[in-house]
C-alpha cells in the first residue's frame, strides 16, 4: 500500500462569528476548492463564501410542469379517448374535473424534482468521504465549525494556506488524508 494522499487542510473554529469571518478571508484570497462545514446552516454564509443562488428551483419547476401536463393528458386520454364512459351527462373531458388530480401530480413531481435536484447538485448519496474518516471532524455535527481547503486547489500551498487559516483565528489545523 502506498502512503495516503493528502486531501486538504482542515481548520477548526469554535463559533459562528469566527468561521464566517474566516470564510470571507478564504473567499477573498481566491480559493476555489474549499468548503465550510457547519452543524446547521449559518445565515449569511453563502455570501461570505461567494456562492450563487441554488439551482434546485429549476429541477422542481420542471417536475411540476411535467406533473401537471401528464395529469391533464392522462385523464383526457383515459376518459375521453381510450375508453369513453358517460357519467351523469358530464362532458367526456373537462379541465375542471381533471384539475384536482393534475394539481396533486404537480405537487408530487415538483417535490420529486426538488429532492432529486438537491441530491444531484450535492452529489449525494455519497457513502465515503475523506473527512468522515477524521475523528475530529465528527464534531461538525455537534458544535464545531470547520473550513477545509483542498490540496488540489491551484492556490494551495501547505505553509501559506496554514498561515492564512491561523491568521483567520483557527486554534486547531490539521491535514486530512484521502
Amino acid at each position: 500500500m502506498s502512503a495516503p494522499k493528502p486531501y486538504g487542510l482542515m481548520a477548526e473554529f469554535v463559533n459562528t462569528s469566527s468561521v464566517i469571518h474566516a470564510a470571507e478571508q478564504v473567499r477573498d484570497a481566491g480559493f476555489r476548492k474549499w468548503d465550510v462545514f457547519t452543524p446547521f446552516p449559518i445565515h449569511g454564509m453563502d455570501k461570505a463564501m461567494g456562492l450563487k443562488n441554488s439551482k434546485v428551483g429549476w429541477f422542481s419547476f420542471l417536475g411540476g410542469v411535467t406533473g401537471y401536463t401528464s395529469g391533464m393528458l392522462m385523464i383526457w386520454w383515459m376518459n375521453a379517448v381510450d375508453y369513453k364512459i358517460v357519467v351523469g351527462g358530464k362532458p367526456m373531458f373537462s379541465p375542471f374535473g381533471a384539475f384536482p388530480p393534475s394539481y396533486e401530480l404537480t405537487i408530487l413531481l415538483g417535490a420529486f424534482g426538488a429532492i432529486g435536484g438537491m441530491l444531484f447538485l450535492n452529489r449525494l448519496p455519497r457513502l465515503h468521504h475523506p473527512l468522515l474518516k477524521n475523528k475530529r471532524f465528527g464534531g461538525c455535527t455537534h458544535d464545531k465549525f470547520f473550513i477545509v481547503i483542498e490540496t488540489t486547489d491551484p492556490k494551495y500551498s501547505e505553509s501559506e494556506t496554514r498561515k492564512l487559516l491561523e491568521a483567520a483565528g483557527s486554534k486547531h489545523i490539521e491535514m486530512v488524508e484521502e
Binding site: 457547519t38 446552516p41 415538483g110 457513502l127 455535527t141
Partner: protein
Amino acid sequence: MSATAPDLKVPMPPPELERIPLVQNNRSFGWITDRVVAVTEGKAPLWWWAAFIPSATLMSILGAMLLYQISTGVGVWGNHHPTMWGWDIINFVWWIGIGHAGTLISAILFLLRQRWRTAVNRAAEAMTIFAVMCAGIFPAMHVGRVWYDWFLFPIPTANALWPQFRSPLMWDVFAVSTYFTVSVLFWYVGLVPDLAIMRDRAKTKIRQFLYGLFALGWTGSNRHWSNYEKAYLILAGLSTPLVLSVHSIVSLDFAVSQLPGWHTTIFPPYFVAGAVFSGFGMVLTLLIPLRTMCKLEDIITMRHIDVMCKVTLATGCIVSYAYVMEFVIAWYSGAAMERFHFMNRALGPMWWGWVMMMSCNMLVPQLFWFKKVRHNLIFVWILSILVNIGMWFERFVIVVVGLYREFLPSNWGYFKPTWVDIMTYLGTFGLFFTMFLLFMRFLPMIAISEVKGVTPQSDPHHPLAGGNGNGGKH
C-alpha cells in the same frame, strides 16, 4: 486581559418587550445534541415499555379485526342502508385531519417564518405520517374486496378499463397518496442532517451502518446546505397548497353529492380549519407528556405550549363559525330538506352527537382565552383530548346524521356500530402509538440542527457567537 467584561454595547429592549427565548437557559449547541439524542440512547425507560406493550397489543387486535373483515365481508361493520358510510369514513376523515397539524407546522409556519416551529416540527410531521397510515386503512378496507384496491390507480390492465376521473373519490386517491408521499419525503429531508449526527455518535457497528446509510453521506458542507435550504423551502412551498387541498378534496367527497347537510360550499375551508384544530389537539396530547418524560422542557417550552393553544383557539373559532353558518344558510335557503336536516341534527334522535360536537369544539377551546388555562399543563392536556373527541363527533354528525334520515321517510333507519367497528378504531390507536414510540426511540424527535439554528449563538453578530453585536456590519 482586563478584569471587567468588554463593553459590548448591545442595545437592550425594555424588559416588557423582551422576547422569551426559544431555547431556555441559554443552552449550548452540544447540550441540544446530547439532550435530544439521549432519548434514543441507552436502555428504553420503563414508561416506554409501559406504553409500547399495550400499543403493540392493540395493533395486533387491529390486524385481527382487518383479517376478520377481509375474510367475512363489510357486513361485520355497522354500515347498512341508509347509513352506507359509518365509522370507516368517520375514522378516515378524523385521522387524516389529525395529520394536517404536522404539515401546517412544518410547511406553513416555515413560510411564515415562525421560528418556534423548529422545536415541534419533527414530532408533528411523524404524527402526520402515522395518522395518514391509520387513515389510509379505512378507505382501502371499506371497498369490501380489498384485493381489488389497485383498481384505484391508473394501471394499464387486460380489462382495458380506466379509473373514472370525474368522481371526487378518485381525486381523493390522488390527494391522499400524494399527501403521504410528500409528507414522508419532507420529513426524511429534514431528518438527513440529524441522521448524520446519529451516525457520528453511534457506538455500535449496526447503528453506524444504518444511520450512515440513511444520512446519505451528509457532511454539513455549506455548499450542500445552500441547495438543501432551497429544496426545503420549495418543499414547504409545495406542501402548503398540498395540505390545503387534501382536506378540501376530502370535503368534496361529501360536498359534490346532493345530500342536505353535505351539499354546501362552506365545506372545504371548514374542513381544513377543523383538520388543523384537531391536529393541534393531537400535537398537544402527544407533546405535553413527552416533554416531561424526555426532559425536553428547555426546548419545548411553555411558550410553545402557549402558542399552540392559541392556534387551537383560532381554528376552533373558525370551526364554530362554520357550525353556526350552516344553520343560518339552511334557514336562509328556504329548502325544506335542508331545514329538516339541521333541525334533525340538533333535535333528532342523534342529538347527543351534535351536543358533543358543539360543546367540545365550540365551548371547550374558549377556555384558551385565559393565560392561566394555557399555562396549566394538566388542564391543557385534558382540553386537547376533548378537542379530539369533539372532532370525532363532528365527523359522526356529518357522516351518520347526514345519512340516517334521508329524503323518503320509508328509508329512515338508525346506526349502531358493531364490536368490530369499535375494535378496529381502537386498533388504529395501537398502530399510531406503536409507530410513534418506535420513532421516538430510534430517531431524534426534535429537529436538532434546526433548533441550533434558532439559538442566539447561531447568529454570527450575536455577542454569544463572538460577534460585535451591531447587526450587519462586521
